[in-house]
């Protein structure tokens, strides 16, 4: 069969590298509303003060997760009222600006997993986004970065962490390729981030026990990958239970370390234990376990499984729904957008908008602040190569996405400080040295491909000794201070002091720097759901970015001042073009070249830099080749191309005129046509060359002679308008400034065509 060329091209598009499948509920391949999802139900034995039926299951049939949810996650005082409230009413409350978040949260505390899913059933993505904007627990949105590299190079980790911190990320997460690297990677991120901006929270995602040991050493300030799952089988395969996870979170808190759980649609299906339930229903169970265990928050939004819900219909909606459910439950939400989710830039950006526009506690639970190929989280849906795009999105929509633009000079400066600090610590602690060559490579490098090789065996044995030994945060701070890295030392110590204070154990806590304090005593201002309560209640409420923050977001290094834009179009006035007197009508068979009011005076070159005199020469040559002559007149009453050409036709003996704006846009006009009509129009001035101007002159002469004319072929460059629109606007503005209330003037051009 002969295929369609269009379909062949479509098949090559990035979007068609994705996998799309039909739902298959039995395999858990369904995002919401599986036929095997239970109906919401709840029964309380008031004597026992105990839930005895949960979503259609009797207590005797409960699995471990049901027990935990029933006994820890549901507020019995409000449960009956909540379950009796029509789900549609709850859905409507979420979008009703007159219903405060606290009223919704009170009822949600009494909802079962199936009830939560039932509320979502009534909501489209726009409504969920409004719900998320309202229910997010912290008023100020923020963002998290991933910093890893495939070589696990400490200098590059420190440099990238320093840059990410300076770029505004409130948290930085690293992980390992080889688990034994964990303490060294955590150390590099800590030193880098605290050099970039004191107060950035850092973590190293590893196996649960190892993660706790690293936190106990003071190398991390939070832990995130406390994974929970929606079925008992998956939970056990994940080597935990809700009780072990609850204990673990209390263990972290007992050392002043923040934690959040991790869940997300698709993990159960991926791990083969979905039990035929929809992904959202299982996620609702995860979220109730998260809340029941006393985690302050959750990382969800499918996370590393994102491609699975995205292969199914409604997948992106379901992922937004899980973010919303978490925020309804009063959990901090780090809302995914981390793992590679799409080949298509259109699709990945569109998906991001669902979290970016409403804002979440962490819009990304890992924006890859390194190139994709260095991201060890399987991630990098947005990566270091998208930094400028992301900054532009913030500026476009006037949305605080938690990141700020920095200059190349700032980046190099902060990377150098971060790398020198880790070099000093490695030397002080007796780790394999970081050479000056490695320092330079890390400061200027982009990825681990730019780094010299290290002795991995030596690094790993240093990592083992470090983990097993007694050196801790205090030794690192001491080393930094001794070697003159006072600011980094003070910032790391402050993270230690914050562990003692415990303010950042509260929901959605981040640290904002308090500027202008003593160098040696950085103090951070904590923002959490306790003191930065999201009070969104419609327009004019909730988070409002400061004037200063908005200015910062506008300060893209690539922004130019428009005032300088048209300097290339201005030189000395054209000496050979002289204004005579008022132009008169003529009866000759001629062509009029009617130019705009700024032509040859205020402006002297077209938008692509062609001298006005050369343009006139070309047109006049074209006219002369057809045996006619041209008269030049300057139109003063308007800068509008149609008006200029139209005015020319009235003066032209043949009735044919060429209208020519200073930026180069051209029209061939004819007397008797409506002003906005024409014979030929050349709207794309940037693609007009001298050859084309000559052809225009020639065609105008042929029209004047009454011949049949083949229109001048022109290039269509639709990108030109995009590239040059600012310049176009400014050139037109400049020409318009020259508009005068005076008649068209006859121009003398001191030049003869050589024909």
């Amino acid at each position: 069969m002969t295929g369609s060329k269009r379909f062949a091209i479509l098949a090559e598009r990035d979007i068609n590298k994705e996998t799309f499948v039909e739902p298959w509920p039995e395999a858990g391949l369904i995002v919401t509303d599986s036929p095997f999802d239970p109906q919401p139900s709840l029964r309380i034995d008031s004597a026992q003060h105990q839930i005895v039926e949960l979503d259609g299951k009797q207590r005797a049939d409960f699995d471990a997760l049901d027990f935990f949810i029933a006994d820890h996650a549901i507020d019995l005082n409000v449960a009956e009222e909540a379950m009796a409230s029509p789900s549609r009413n709850l859905a409507r409350m979420l979008v009703d600006i007159n219903v405060p978040a606290s009223r919704i949260r009170r009822l949600v505390a009494g909802c079962t997993p199936a009830k939560l899913c039932d509320v979502i059933r009534y909501m489209n993505v726009l409504e969920m986004m409004i719900g998320l904007a309202k229910m997010r627990v912290r008023r100020t949105p923020a963002n998290q970065a991933h910093v890893t590299n495939k070589r696990e190079h400490p200098a590059l980790l420190a440099a990238d962490a320093a840059e990410a911190a300076l770029r505004g990320f409130a948290e930085i997460e690293t992980t390992v390729g080889v688990a034994r690297f964990a303490p060294l990677n955590a150390l590099a991120i800590q030193i880098g981030s605290q050099t970039g901006r004191g107060g950035v929270l850092t973590q190293c995602s590893v196996e649960e026990s190892l993660g706790l040991r690293i936190a106990l050493k003071g190398l991390t300030s939070y832990a995130e990958t406390l994974s929970v799952y929606g079925t008992e089988g998956t939970f056990v395969d994940g080597d935990d239970t809700p009780w072990s996870k609850a204990f673990l979170s209390a263990a972290y808190a007992s050392r002043g370390v923040k934690i959040r759980f991790t869940s997300g649609t698709g993990s159960e299906a991926l791990m083969g234990h979905a039990e035929g339930r929809s992904m959202l229903y299982l996620e609702a169970r995860c979220l109730l376990i998260t809340r029941g265990a006393g985690s302050q928050g959750v990382q969800n939004g499918s996370i590393s499984c994102i491609a699975l819900p995205e292969s199914l219909p409604g997948g992106v909606r379901a992922v937004l729904a899980e973010n919303l459910l978490a925020s309804m439950l009063g959990l901090e939400v780090a809302s995914g957008n981390d793992a590679l989710a799409s080949h298509s830039a259109i699709r990945k950006s569109a998906k991001l908008m669902l979290q970016f526009i409403p804002g979440t506690d962490f819009i990304f639970s890992g924006y890859s602040a390194v190139p994709k190929r260095d991201n060890l989280f399987g991630g990098g849906n947005f990566d270091a190569e998208d930094f400028d795009d992301y900054n532009v999105l913030q500026r476009d929509m006037q949305i605080d996405g938690g990141v700020r633009p920095i200059t190349e000079e700032q980046a190099i400066g902060i990377r150098r400080q971060g790398v020198l600090a880790i070099q000093a610590v490695y030397a002080a602690l007796g780790f394999p040295p970081i050479t000056d060559e490695e320092v330079e490579a890390a400061v200027l490098g982009h990825s681990s491909d730019d780094m010299p090789a290290r002795d991995v065996v030596a690094d790993l044995s240093a990592a083992d000794r470090f983990l097993a030994g007694s050196q801790s945060m205090l030794d690192i701070v001491g080393a930094l201070q001794q070697r003159g890295f006072t600011q980094t030392a003070a910032a790391i110590l402050e993270m230690g002091r914050q562990r003692v204070i415990g303010d950042y154990l509260q929901p959605a806590a981040i640290f904002m720097p308090i500027p202008h304090l003593e160098l040696t005593q950085p103090r951070y201002h904590v923002l959490s759901a306790i003191n930065d309560v999201n009070d969104y209640a419609g327009p004019g409420t909730g988070y409002h970015m400061s004037e200063e923050r908005w200015k910062e977001m506008q300060r893209l290094p690539q922004v130019k001042s428009p005032r300088e834009f048209i300097k290339d179009q201005v030189s000395g006035r054209c000496e050979r073009l002289v204004e005579l007197g008022a132009a008169k009508e003529s009866r000759h068979s001629e062509v009029i070249v009617a130019v705009g009011p700024g032509f040859g005076t205020a402006l002297t070159r077209t938008i692509n830099g062609v001298d006005h005199e050369k343009v006139l020469e070309a047109i006049l040559t074209g006219v002369a080749r057809e045996g006619l002559t041209a008269r030049i007149v300057k139109v003063y009453q308007s800068s509008d191309l149609a008006y200029i050409g139209y005015t020319g036709t009235a003066l032209s003996g043949s009735g044919i005129a060429i209208g020519l704006q200073s930026r180069g846009t051209t029209v061939i006009h004819k007397r008797g046509l409506a002003r906005l009509n024409n014979l030929e129009l050349f709207p794309q001035s940037p693609s007009l060359t001298l050859e084309i101007y000559e052809a225009i002159g020639r065609n105008a002469a042929r029209y004047a002679k009454g011949e049949a004319v083949r229109p001048v072929p022109v290039q269509v460059d639709n990108w030109a308008r995009l590239r040059l629109i600012v310049k176009t606007a400014l050139l037109h503005r400049r020409e318009t400034e020259e508009v005068r209330d005076k008649p068209p003037m006859e121009m003398f051009f001191d030049w003869e065509p050589d024909v």
Partner: protein, 149 residues
């Protein structure tokens, strides 16, 4: 400063509350200078149970009941040394301990560490693990990942 003589959140910015580390050292004395003089040790960077209970109160007042309960359990666990804490967590993972071992852990938490809230959590877990066959089975589970290298 304080409202009804109660500390206010954030504690770190409440001028009326002097936060102390588990060692008893005041937060204002946890400084670079103190490190340079070699005065600080690990206990100076540990949170006190009282502080966790204050944070639990803030959480409860903010409507975060389960978080408050977690912070109360955390206050109890400040008494448990690091290695012991890691072992306890390990015991609670699926298939690691028999029912009797779990009950023993609950008793140790209650008697040795005065941690009744954690003890209750462990007892509840022991009951569910028994019902759901999550107690230790033979052959014994693989050693901790950290011991494998």
């Amino acid at each position: 400063m304080t409202k009804n003589n109660q500390p206010t959140y954030p504690l770190g910015e409440d001028a009326g509350t002097e936060v102390m580390a588990a060692s008893g050292r005041k937060i204002k004395d946890i400084t670079l200078e103190a490190i340079a003089r070699g005065e600080l040790n690990g206990a100076d960077l540990l949170i006190k149970p009282d502080t966790l209970l204050m944070q639990a109160r803030f959480a409860r007042e903010g409507g975060f009941t389960q978080l408050a309960e977690n912070l109360e359990r955390a206050a109890e666990l400040t008494a448990v040394p690091n290695d012991e804490l890691l072992r306890m967590y390990e015991t609670l993972r699926p298939g690691r301990a028999t029912h009797a071992e779990m009950i023993a852990l609950a008793e140790r938490l209650e008697l040795q560490f005065h941690a009744p809230l954690n003890a209750a959590l462990v007892r509840e877990a022991a009951m569910v693990y028994l019902a759901r066959n999550l107690v230790k089975r033979s052959p014994p589970p693989a050693p901790m990942a950290d011991d494998t290298y």
